[in-house]
């Protein structure tokens, strides 16, 4: 019997995965559009929908971004379970519309933002940031959003606003992981006001040019690239300006292990493991962890004179 190479399909005729994915996106987009028409013009905000008018920004790392699939399937988001794959599996139950974010506390102009209004507050920018998890792995993620300072300025903090507290949604019907008492819910994080005002501190609404997937903290999350990942609160419902340093969920859970600052610092180890190196997802060998995750030039002045071993 003659064995011939199968020539039915030329390699060049096989749809490259990017195009294939785009086509799916396109179909999803059409579906979204149709749904929008049916629902009477309700804006569709599902993951995978392209965000319009995203500008490039100066904060674009030259490193290759971590593949979309890894960014959206390897997550820590305990509200949906403690396994890395749990958020991608279970976050479908999160409803990101309607969604409001209350801005309150020590501000002259407290306000409850509808997320769609918040999206139009400032031009959306793409920012490619390093993300370093306290567990010792890292990614490079092209986020979409704008500086948190845009929102803070509009709220007009009073002189008493020394810290900002971020609170994540706490609804067990939408977030099955909340039934486990693994952390004190709601998930709470905090920044010093100057950290919150720093131009690097991002209020993110998307990644890879698209609406933020639920498992990555939709519809709106914080991204503080020089701190360990857990500082970047997800699915935020409340931003509160306060005078006293807030206690974050991780500080409450293990005060010896997680401090308020949690700046990426290769010289200050986690009590149980080293922080000197990290494994970037997709790479084989570990790489050295950089001071302030490589953002020392921009943020080191915030901590001048502070003992970073003490204020870990």
């Amino acid at each position: 019997m003659l064995i011939r190479p199968s020539s039915d399909i030329l390699p060049s005729e096989i749809t490259p995965p990017e195009v294939y994915r785009d086509r799916r996106r396109f179909m999803q987009g059409m579906g979204a559009l149709a749904a929008g028409v049916v629902l009477g013009g309700v804006s569709e905000a599902r993951a995978g929908v392209k965000l319009a008018d995203v500008r490039a920004s100066a904060y674009a790392l030259a490193d290759d971004p971590t593949p979309y699939k890894d960014v959206t399937t390897y997550n820590n988001f305990y509200e949906f379970g403690t396994g890395k794959g749990d958020p991608a599996k279970h976050a479908g139950s999160l409803k990101t519309r309607p969604w409001t974010i209350a801005v309150e506390g020590e501000v002259l102009r407290p306000q409850t933002w509808d997320v769609d209004a918040l999206l139009k507050l400032a031009p959306l920018e793409e920012r490619v940031y390093r993300m370093r998890c306290v567990e010792g792995w890292s990614m490079v993620i092209p986020w979409v959003g704008f500086s948190l300072s845009e929102l803070i300025r509009r709220a007009e903090p009073t002189g008493k606003a020394k810290y900002v507290e971020f609170v994540t949604l706490n609804d067990p019907r939408q977030m099955p992981g909340l039934r486990s008492r693994v952390l004190d819910w709601p998930y709470t994080e905090g920044l010093r006001i100057d950290e919150a005002m720093h131009p690097l501190t991002l209020l993110a609404v998307g990644l890879y040019g698209e609406v933020l997937p639920n498992q990555n903290g939709a519809p709106v999350r914080l991204v503080v690239p020089w701190k360990y990942g857990f500082k970047s609160a997800k699915s935020i419902v409340k931003i509160r300006f306060v005078e006293k340093q807030p206690t974050s969920s991780w500080m409450a859970a293990a005060p010896r292990e997680y401090g308020f600052y949690s700046n990426v610092n290769p010289q200050v180890d986690h009590p149980r493991w080293s922080q000197a190196k990290e494994r970037r997802i997709g790479e084989f060998r570990k790489r050295d962890t950089l001071m302030f995750n490589g953002y020392a030039e921009q943020v080191a002045p915030l901590y001048r004179g502070m003992d970073l071993k003490k204020f870990f």
């Binding site: 699939k69 890894d70 399937t73 390897y74 305990y78 403690t82 890395k84 794959g85 306290v134 567990e135 792995w137 486990s180 693994v182 952390l183 859970a253 293990a254 149980r272 493991w273 080293s274 494994r279 997802i281 997709g282 084989f284 060998r285 570990k286």
Partner: protein
């Protein structure tokens, strides 16, 4: 070679290879996820613990079932625990630390969970080395004494797991619970309880 398919040892051997087969299959098909090295480390660690628990379950099962012959399978289970522990240790040495002796030495001294895991592995080596029938004969009574090391080894293994997880202790606590149960069944009152269960069971049967 006349491998007898009715010999349970053959089946147990095959079953014990399944976790490794799964890893090889997943590696080949790109199914190890975003962090393959973490996946392999966790998987080989998990199967080491499972192997230790299965080895420790033989004695209670013998008492419960009255089938002394079960002891024939214990060596193979113990050696598989050692096999997965070796893979686990190699993953750490090679894929995690890239044979960097300074980093490894620092880790073993400084990190309690590495210290415990390393100690457990080192203690397993003499047990594996003396697992042959010839060694059993040579060591006589001392063989049993030596092999009681499996109790601290299993405890160290569970402590190693408990100490490394970030926050969710559920899984290591399950292993801890099973281990405590297995050890308790060896204490006088545990053994009595097993005997009691067996007597009722036998009485119900006839």
């Amino acid at each position: 070679m006349g491998a007898d398919l009715r010999n349970p040892k053959l089946w147990i051997f095959g079953l014990c290879l399944l976790p490794l087969g799964r890893l090889v299959f997943l590696a080949g098909s790109g199914g190890l996820g975003a962090n393959p090295i973490e996946f392999i480390t966790r998987s080989t660690g998990t199967w080491t613990l499972v192997g230790l628990m299965l080895t420790l379950s033989i004695t209670p099962l013998r008492r419960l079932s009255g089938r002394a012959g079960l002891v024939r399978y214990r060596r193979m289970l113990g050696l598989f625990a050692f096999f997965y522990a070796s893979l686990h240790f190699m993953t750490y040495l090679w894929l995690d630390q890239f044979f960097d002796p300074a980093a490894i030495a620092r880790d073993i001294v400084k990190r309690p969970f590495i210290t415990m895991g390393f100690a457990a592995f080192v203690l397993l080596i003499p047990l594996a080395a003396t697992s042959t029938s010839a060694m059993m004969r040579r060591l006589g009574r001392n063989w049993q004494r030596l092999h009681r090391l499996i109790y601290p080894i299993a405890l160290l293994g569970v402590a190693h797991y408990l100490w490394l997880v970030k926050k969710d202790l559920t899984e290591p606590l399950i292993y801890g619970g099973v281990l405590i149960l297995l050890l308790a069944m060896r204490l006088p009152w545990g053994a009595r309880a097993l005997k009691e269960v067996r007597n009722r069971w036998v009485a119900a049967k006839y």
